[in-house]
Amino acid sequence: MNQNVTCPVCDAVFEVAENVELNELLTCPDCGSELEVVNLKPLEVAEAPQEEEDWGE
């Protein structure tokens, strides 16, 4: 049975596979943020650090 998790960045609620592992990286389907599983029971995610690529002029 899949579990639901809430994205800390945009508050979207999305489904995650039941066998998700600690420190696994997920992508929020709404805002695309990279999230890291920081706790399994209860399931918790936090924003994964992303290096800032340059973009634009």
Binding site: D11, C31, G32, S33
Partner: protein, 348 residues
């Protein structure tokens, strides 16, 4: 299910051509007549070359209009008002793409267009043409007045914020960057290629007519002022509206996401585009070219309470013909995306 007979009045312009492109592929539509005085008797594909080998219709004259189920009006400013009785006698439903019946209030029309409306009593008969705001009224409407392109982009960006009352009402500054097709197919010195090419032209720093619709739709009973400017850039189709909204309370990014999701989460033609990486992190007009999408993105400056909202549309699609077909689908109970499925091109 028998097809809906549709005629397009004034179909030689860019919006009329785009409408034909969509209607020719609409499964429930039979195009009956297509009028243009200037191109009377000519093949439609002579004026709309993308319809070569697809459409063998010829332009007929407005005087030869016959009865049909739905009339789309793509006439120059003021013409729809003049001939409205004739049109309403010919068709059960009318979708007007001009500005004639967009405003609910005759005084506001006179203020913005400089002359009084000739049929003020009809203004309230027309539903304002943004489905995301008036879907239920539209489903029962006989007349719809399609919204202006800049107005559509700006209203869709600001509507949730003004409805929730989190914006300082009279502080929003909006600047649209627009393409040359907004001027229509009438040629002028200013649109002559060697002059127009590469322009970053501040053609309306103040007093743009579409302001009337924005203030009408964002007022919710209390007067509101939007500080609006328009700049044309090196583009044919496309509008990017950049709105600077000054919030009246402390909010976080997540709160803004929640508000937009609340209003637009289930909308088939609105996408929230706000990404941390990649080449297209905020709405980009070229990506919605030919589609009926309005992409909306934002960034919150927490220190100053300024929320920058970006909205991108194709002025000929969500800003004109696409939105008119969306309204047509709602008025007839068809799936709203019918004939509006084109996803856009990348790269373009």
């Amino acid at each position: 299910m028998s097809k809906i007979s549709v005629s397009v009045v004034g179909a030689s312009g860019f919006a009329g051509g785009e409408l034909l492109r969509l209607l020719l592929f609409h499964p429930h539509v039979e195009i009956k007549q297509v009028t243009s005085e200037r191109h009377y008797g000519k093949f439609v594909h002579k004026v709309h070359p993308n319809l070569r080998k697809i459409c063998n219709l010829k332009f007929t004259g407005i005087g030869e209009l016959e009865e049909c189920d739905v009339l789309f009006l793509c006439l120059p400013h003021g013409e729809a008002q003049k001939q409205i009785d004739r049109f309403t006698s010919l068709a059960q439903r009318i979708i007007d793409l001009s500005g004639d019946f967009r405003l609910n209030d005759a005084q506001s029309y006179k203020r913005w267009y400089g002359h009084p409306h000739t049929r003020p009593e009809l203004l309230s008969e027309f539903v304002y043409g943004i489905p995301e705001l008036y879907r239920s009224k539209m489903s029962r409407a006989r007349f719809v007045s399609s919204a202006g392109c800049n107005a559509t982009a700006t209203i869709l960006a600001l509507y949730p914020l003004y409805k929730e009352g989190i914006a300082q009402r009279n502080s929003t500054v909006t600047e649209v960057k627009v393409g040359s097709s907004e001027g229509g197919n009438k040629v002028s010195e200013a649109s002559h290629h060697p002059i127009r090419h590469g322009c970053v032209r501040s053609f309306k720093p103040t007093g743009h007519r579409h302001l009337a619709e924005m203030e009408q739709e964002l007022s919710f009973g209390e007067s509101v002022t939007i500080h609006f400017s328009a700049t044309s850039i090196e583009m044919v189709r496309g509008v990017l509206a950049t709105s600077h909204v000054f919030l009246n309370r402390d909010l976080q990014e997540k709160d803004i996401w929640k508000i937009y999701r609340k209003y637009y989460g289930n909308e088939p033609f609105i996408r929230i585009v706000k990404e941390r990486d990649g080449n297209y992190r905020y709405p980009e007009p070229k990506l919605v070219t030919g589609t009926n999408y309005c992409d909306i993105g934002f960034e919150l400056d927490a220190q100053t309470g300024r929320l920058v909202v970006m909205s991108a549309i194709d002025n000929l699609m969500k800003g004109a013909a696409g939105q008119a077909v969306q309204a047509f689908n709602i008025m007839h109970g068809f799936a709203e995306t019918t004939a509006l499925e084109f996803p856009g091109l990348h790269p373009i």
